[in-house]
């Protein structure tokens, strides 16, 4: 029915439907997008690229707003710290 893609979130493989945003994939995997400056886990808030709470390291590039990026096969995603 849906085409599934494999992505790695903090090293663990997740299978998500094509079209899933990276922010949604991190929510699905129950992983925070980033750890705040005082150590709190945070995830997407605004969903539209404004709040930067969903920023994470995507394919090695830091500070990516994950709500604005779609998952791609074999993408590596890591929480920002």
């Amino acid at each position: 029915m849906f085409e599934l893609l494999s992505v790695k979130i903090n090293g663990a493989t997740s299978r998500v439907a094509r079209g899933t945003t990276v922010a949604a994939a991190m929510l699905l995997a129950d992983r925070p997008s980033r750890i705040s400056v005082t150590g709190e886990p945070r995830g997407a808030l605004c969903g539209m690229g404004v709040c930067f709470e969903c920023r994470a390291v995507v394919n090695g590039i830091p500070h990516r707003r994950t709500c604005q990026i779609l998952c791609e096969q074999d993408m590596t995603i890591e929480a920002s710290r």
């Binding site: 079209g19 605004c46 969903g47 920023r55 604005q68």
Partner: protein, 442 residues
């Protein structure tokens, strides 16, 4: 450097109408949008599975996008505008798989259709994962986050709450309650004013009907989000009506307090403001002769206002009279004003955050640490409030409501970009942010 007659920033309903109108009348038009696809927030498409194609082929959204496609206007998605000069240049950053592409666009006329974002208000626990914006949760659901079977509380203020709740219910979420801070009196007057806008009234009634299982709590607001046993997820919210406080268990909270206009580019360009909104004349022209503005940045008034204002701005750029369309703007603006009155924030919301409640989420600055300061400059230097990557887009409206401080200044870059972005003034360059080599651009 790319040169165009008309540059439109924002591909929501206002930007689409503006771009199509200008292009249909002979202008070369480029539209830039931060999002991947055109449509803005209100016409955001589901990107996953069956839902991604379910609503295509009919409706206003489809007609607008189809018109845009046929008009010949070029739409560039994923372009984040970080600098702009009224002399005629806009700079954007575009994230690619190998780094950041910095592009320059030169324009003769500029149309700002930058829309609005949600207003967030802080309460203890609002930084817990599981707490989202109202429109925020809806956008994430469209991006593939399933809410089926999850218990959701939708809270805050504004017409968006019912729309979000109805869509979440349609996606099989269990929307236990909608918590609206506006009083019954305010809402009744607003509902009465809707008789002049029958389509909007019908939409509201439809949403309410879709939510027949949901409690609609008027004159109530969330005072706390409570963490579950692991401390890192949401288990319940505390809600009050001003006299009584009760707990509602939930998995997700969608909380938004109406809208804030995105006016950063207009402010950077030096456009005159009318309060918090960009001042425009009847042709949507700002105080700068070659800069137009349409939609929410000129006053929060919704979809119809955005579409007609965009149309006017596009036609005005092409030198066509818009006198007939201007009457419709007045009617829609009146709707916006009645909305503003109906969903005005109650003063009790100012006493919801505790001293240890975070106000600036980027820098984890608490409400208590703002005490003793008199304004933004002080507080930025001493606490870093508003100095993080969102550049005060979230905490700015919060601080304005809680402490009455208006923003003081705006500077480029409007969004974080690599430092190298400023080294290239006349050319488009790709800046590597990984160790992998960048391929030569054709």
């Amino acid at each position: 450097m790319t040169t165009t007659e008309v540059l439109v920033i924002g591909a929501g309903p206002a930007g689409i109408a503006a771009a199509a109108a200008a292009a249909e009348n002979g202008c070369a038009v480029i539209v830039l949008d931060d999002n991947v696809a055109a449509g803005g927030q209100i016409w955001r498409e589901a990107t996953v599975g069956e839902a991604a194609s379910a609503h295509r082929g009919h409706g206003r959204k489809w007609r607008a996008l189809e018109r845009l496609r046929r008009s010949g206007a070029q739409v560039l998605g994923g372009r984040c505008v970080f600098s702009a000069e009224a002399s005629g240049t806009v700079q954007t950053s575009h994230e690619t798989s190998s780094g950041t592409l910095v592009e320059q666009f030169h324009f003769e006329q500029l149309i700002l259709a930058t829309g609005a974002r949600e207003r967030f208000l802080p309460f203890p626990g609002w930084t817990l994962p599981g707490v989202f914006g109202a429109g925020g949760l809806q956008a994430l659901v469209k991006g593939g986050f399933p809410v089926g079977g999850k218990r959701v509380v939708v809270a805050g203020t504004g017409p968006l709450l019912l729309a979000v709740a109805a869509h979440l219910a349609q996606d099989s979420a269990v929307v236990s309650s909608v918590v609206e801070q506006a009083s019954l009196g305010q809402l009744a007057r607003f509902a009465a004013s809707l008789w002049e806008h029958p389509a909007k009234l019908a939409q509201g009634v439809l949403y309410r009907a879709m939510l027949w299982k949901t409690s609609y709590r008027i004159g109530c607001w969330v005072v706390e989000a409570i963490a579950g046993s692991n401390g890192h997820n949401l288990s319940a919210v505390r809600v009050t009506d001003g006299t009584r406080v009760w707990t509602e268990p939930c998995d997700l909270l969608a909380s938004g307090y109406h809208l804030v206009p995105n006016t950063e580019i207009a402010a950077l360009l030096g456009c005159k403001f009318r309060g918090t909104f960009v001042q425009v004349d009847k042709a949507q022209r700002t105080s700068l002769p070659n800069v137009f503005c349409a939609g929410e940045p000129t006053g929060i008034a919704g979809l119809e206002a955005a579409m007609v204002q965009g149309e006017i701005a596009g036609l005005a750029c092409a030198g066509i009279s818009t006198t007939l369309l201007q009457k419709r703007v007045a009617a829609e603006r009146a709707f916006g004003e009645s909305m503003e009155k109906a969903f005005a924030l109650r003063k009790e919301l100012r006493s919801v955050p505790r001293p240890d409640t975070i106000v600036c989420r980027c820098e984890d600055v608490t409400f208590g640490s703002l005490h003793g300061y008199t304004g933004w400059t002080d507080v930025k230097l001493q606490t870093r409030c508003g100095m993080g990557p969102c550049q005060g887009r979230i905490c700015g409206p919060v601080v304005e409501f809680l402490l009455g401080w208006s923003p003081v200044s705006i500077r480029q870059p409007l969004f974080p970009v690599p430092l190298q972005a400023f080294c290239f003034q006349d050319e488009s360059v790709e800046i590597a942010t990984t160790n992998e080599p960048i391929e030569e651009k054709a």
